[in-house]
């Protein structure tokens, strides 16, 4: 699906007027949205852990956040490439959307530091879950802070009100790219989770 999406995107890139870096739009934005989806999924699993006390949610939350952080790092990299193509610099502090993503990346990187400094057990599960919930709240708060800062350099045609900035067909290609990226993240999540569960079972059997 990703291949089809990017193939179609390459055909359309030349027709995207006003995008100096049209191609990266189909990569950067789906990656960013996928990162949010995975981090949100991790927070949901953390909430389920605190709500029900079922330990399986800990591994699911951790795995989702791990995948989310990988996609967050990719967002920073592709955002930097976009900045280079659009504004001829690799990093611009006035681009506060990317800065907000950097804040989230720092926050979730600390999640791993926290997790690995705690002894395995129910305490670690609960503390990690609470921290993940804070991340879910930090996402909209960072967005709000960015909006308050009132400087948008990124083009945000999908959420801009008024005259549509992109055609419906381009939106459809974007939708295919986003679906492909989400499917890739879901596959990575399933594989990593299966591996971690197997590893856990082996450790328990060995003990």
């Amino acid at each position: 699906m990703l291949g089809v999406g990017f193939g179609l995107a390459l055909l359309w890139v030349g027709e995207l007027e006003g995008f100096a870096a049209g191609g990266i739009f189909f990569l950067h934005v789906p990656i960013a949205l996928t990162a949010y989806a995975m981090l949100g999924w991790g927070a949901w699993k953390a909430l389920r852990l605190l709500w029900t006390g079922e330990e399986r949610y800990d591994l699911e939350s951790y795995t989702a956040i791990h995948i989310g952080v990988i996609f967050a790092l990719l967002t920073l990299v592709t955002g930097s490439i976009w900045a280079r193509a659009e504004w001829l610099v690799w990093w611009d502090w006035r681009d506060r959307q990317l800065v907000a993503f950097l804040i989230l990346f720092l926050f979730y990187s600390a999640y791993f530091m926290l997790r690995y400094s705690l002894e395995p057990g129910s305490g670690r599960m609960r503390i990690s879950a609470v921290y993940a919930l804070f991340g879910a709240v930090l996402i909209p708060m960072s967005f709000l802070a960015v909006r308050l800062a009132d400087q948008f350099l990124h083009r945000t045609p999908l959420i801009r009100r008024g005259t549509p900035d992109i055609e419906g067909s381009v939106l459809a290609v974007f939708g295919v790219c986003l679906a492909g990226m989400l499917a890739l993240a879901a596959a990575m999540y399933a594989v990593e989770l299966a591996g971690k569960r197997l590893d856990l079972r082996l450790r328990e059997a060995h003990a």
Partner: protein, 211 residues
Amino acid sequence: MTYLRDAAALARKDLLLELRGRETVPAMVLFVVAVFVAFRFALPQEQEAAAQGLLWVAIVLTALLGLIRAFVPEREQGVLDALVLAPCDRSAIWLGKALAVLAFLLVAEAAAVPLFGLFFTEVTAATVGAILLANVGLCAVGTLLAAMAVAGRAREVLLPLLFLPLSIPVVIGGVGATVSADPARYLGFLALYDAIFAILAWATFEYVVTE
């Protein structure tokens, strides 16, 4: 009422310990003054706007210094488990600790803000309002994170890593309220941050301290 009495008793205990030991507040005051002096030489001449931003960095770092010591007495005496087992709502522990840290921070700022006006530029009423609002959010979030960090290894290293990303929206709101001609929306943002994160910290503290 019992809930508030429990929280007040814990806060009073921390304040009494500080009055006797004087370990945290003098360190916070000296730290923030030292930061101002270092900033004065780090800044180019006549950079008032940059100095306004540095005030907020100094406040966040000073709050961090107070938070690092927030659970040290309990850890050294091994009484955190006893507190958790006490017949009171566990979130009252969070509230009492947050109130104590807030009191320490207010004392440090009472010395720091006039000094900032003396060293750099005048402090407006909007800035003072923003500082008071920011204090609530920093102490509410920071106290919960300090309880998390104290449970892990390398506590002193861990807390800054956990705390600084969460304090960045406070810095944005604070700097906005300080430099903007229309500080109301930034003050509103800080109040929103306080309300959301204080409720979240209050609701989740129990999960952090129970085994």
